[in-house]
Symmetry: C2
Subunit: 340 residues, 2 copies
């Protein structure tokens, strides 16, 4: 073998058959746990497998079976995701756990450039995976088009791209935001504001809508600070703006934990105590929440659960089941700590 000088040739099913003194068919039956094999043949074959160190060749098996027993996990724009969003790791683990249980192999594909897009497209078309889980697809994503064209079973984590009818798993940002705001109001706060991030994304807009729902007639647009991103710096800026608009503020809902952390910094700077003067709540239950002083009350994102459900959804499609039309929304428990 010229291409791989150091690799010794692998044992095939034929070698096992020869060693055990039976035919390929019988060996295949033993390997795949099928009935109609005599006890003595089974024992001889198992011994032969052990002796020659036989491992089935997956390429050959895939070729004839027309499946790969693997599911792709596609991550787009990893720079921002890996650095900002600790959830991606959890989603990945959740998906891996569910696939593992079904004896499927997860294959994690990173798209980081134009070049990657083409290669991943080829990879998907090449029959390497039986289905895909897509995290953070963009609008007009060529990968999305290819998945549709191939008819590849797929489930998206987060909101579905464009307006296509593709199965997805997500959380209900709106009712979660409403719930934590109501919980904050229940502590007796009367002037509650929000630092609203990323209003150009579904998640950001929905969190603001939930906040509005919770306040009802009490809602005051002057108590909403609009900031571009979910980041720490946005929290600092947003909080300063809110304090300037309403010094008597006694509660704040921050659109993310990082934003909440920034808000805490601005409050400290302004000499307000938390939760004494102002109650603060966040969203995500990320690492930030435990890094804050005081510990943050927040909405828990069931990241592992999202991955798990996405995996199950793909597997269900593989079994021929129809995916839920409206997508799957997971519940988001409130984690009440010290900041409110």
């Amino acid at each position: 073998m010229v291409t791989n000088p150091g690799r010794r040739k692998r044992a095939t099913i034929h070698d096992v058959a020869l060693e055990a003194g039976v035919s390929r068919g019988t060996v295949s039956r033993v390997v795949n746990d099928e009935p109609y094999v005599s006890a003595e043949a089974r024992i001889a074959i198992e011994a032969a497998i052990e002796k020659v160190g036989y491992v089935p060749n997956t390429a050959a098996r895939n070729l004839v079976m027309q499946r790969s027993q693997a599911i792709g996990f596609i991550v787009h724009e990893p720079h921002s995701l890996f650095l900002e969003d600790p959830n991606i790791g959890e989603i990945l683990l959740g998906a891996n756990a569910a696939l593992s249980l079904a004896d499927f192999q997860m294959v994690c594909l990173i798209i980081d450039s134009e070049r990657d897009t083409d290669r991943v497209a080829r990879y998907l078309s090449g029959g390497f995976v039986d289905g895909v889980i897509v995290v953070s697809a963009r609008k007009n994503d060529p990968i999305t088009r290819i998945i549709e064209k191939l008819g590849l079973p797929s489930t998206f984590v987060g909101h579905p791209p464009d307006l296509r009818q593709l199965p997805f798993v997500g959380i209900d940002n709106r009712s979660s935001a409403r719930a934590i705001t109501e919980r904050l109001l229940a502590t007796g706060r009367t002037r509650v504001g929000m630092i609203a991030s990323a209003l150009d994304r579904d998640s950001g807009a929905d969190r603001l809508a939930g906040f509005t729902d919770a306040l009802g007639p009490l809602f005051d647009p002057a108590l909403v600070a609009r900031v571009p991103f979910y980041a720490y710096a946005d929290g600092v800026a947003g909080m300063r703006a809110l304090l300037a608009a309403e010094p008597g503020l006694d509660g704040v809902f921050a659109a993310s934990d990082a934003v909440a952390a920034g808000a805490l910094e601005a409050l400290r700077e302004a000499g307000r105590s938390v939760p004494g003067d102002v109650g603060v709540v966040g969203f995500d239950d990320s690492a930030w929440a435990l890094r804050c002083q005081p510990l943050l009350s927040t909405v828990h994102q069931p990241a592992a659960g999202l991955g798990e459900r996405a995996a199950e959804s793909v597997l269900a499609q593989l079994r021929g089941e129809e995916p839920e039309l409206g997508g799957i929304l997971l519940t988001t428990p409130i984690v009440w700590r010290d900041s409110a």
Copy 2:
């Protein structure tokens, strides 16, 4: 096809040949960009490929070529890694970039349980990948054994497991620690201590050794606080211990950025100003470094570079080149900010 009801049958090289009115061989030559194809045949075949929507079947190609054009990226203990270590994402991206350039597909394999180990082992044995990059292998890792047994080209990121002679890519913790300590001393500090973490790991022990190197005759064992982990809480505890041992301390080298962040908290608590009273430096240049107040001076871990070099090392082995015996050590620039 019973297993995949919705999938329409894929076009094969045969369909293309029929459509273009040539033979399989000629189509194969066009697909693989080989010479000795007439212009008209090439045009007809390209049109036919477009028309029938042909994509090469990777399983079939792998079977006959005895390779997969894919490299595995194995991550062990992802829980701790994804949560504690932001570097893993960078390493992944660096490796992906290098593999992408060589037109290899990266396949990311997560090992999260016993079950995963077995499945990944089967996956590797199944010829799905031509080589592997291993991040954070443990001692006596069954995966390591399997890699050795298969003779699979591999490169480890970080220190090599056990005492085996396997290629690896890492950083020189010792000289990096020495360099940043010397830089701290150069600011005129005279009583410099260290919070030393994870002395049971190579990285932790080496960082302490580098610190000792830098101080030379000035080294005072009383100014080393030993803490178990690289975490924030360890930094708080370590700093308190150091201040108790030597109130006149004017510089600290923390074994990681998280530890440094904890140290800053303890210093604030004790009423010391940074960098006025005490200069603080960390290690890693992780997200912590920019989250600290003041911004942390630290050692930059070239995480993307580690991934890149690991990928290149595996590709070199695939070309039949001998791997460097002592492993590859990358340089670690010092990032000087405000904390010292």
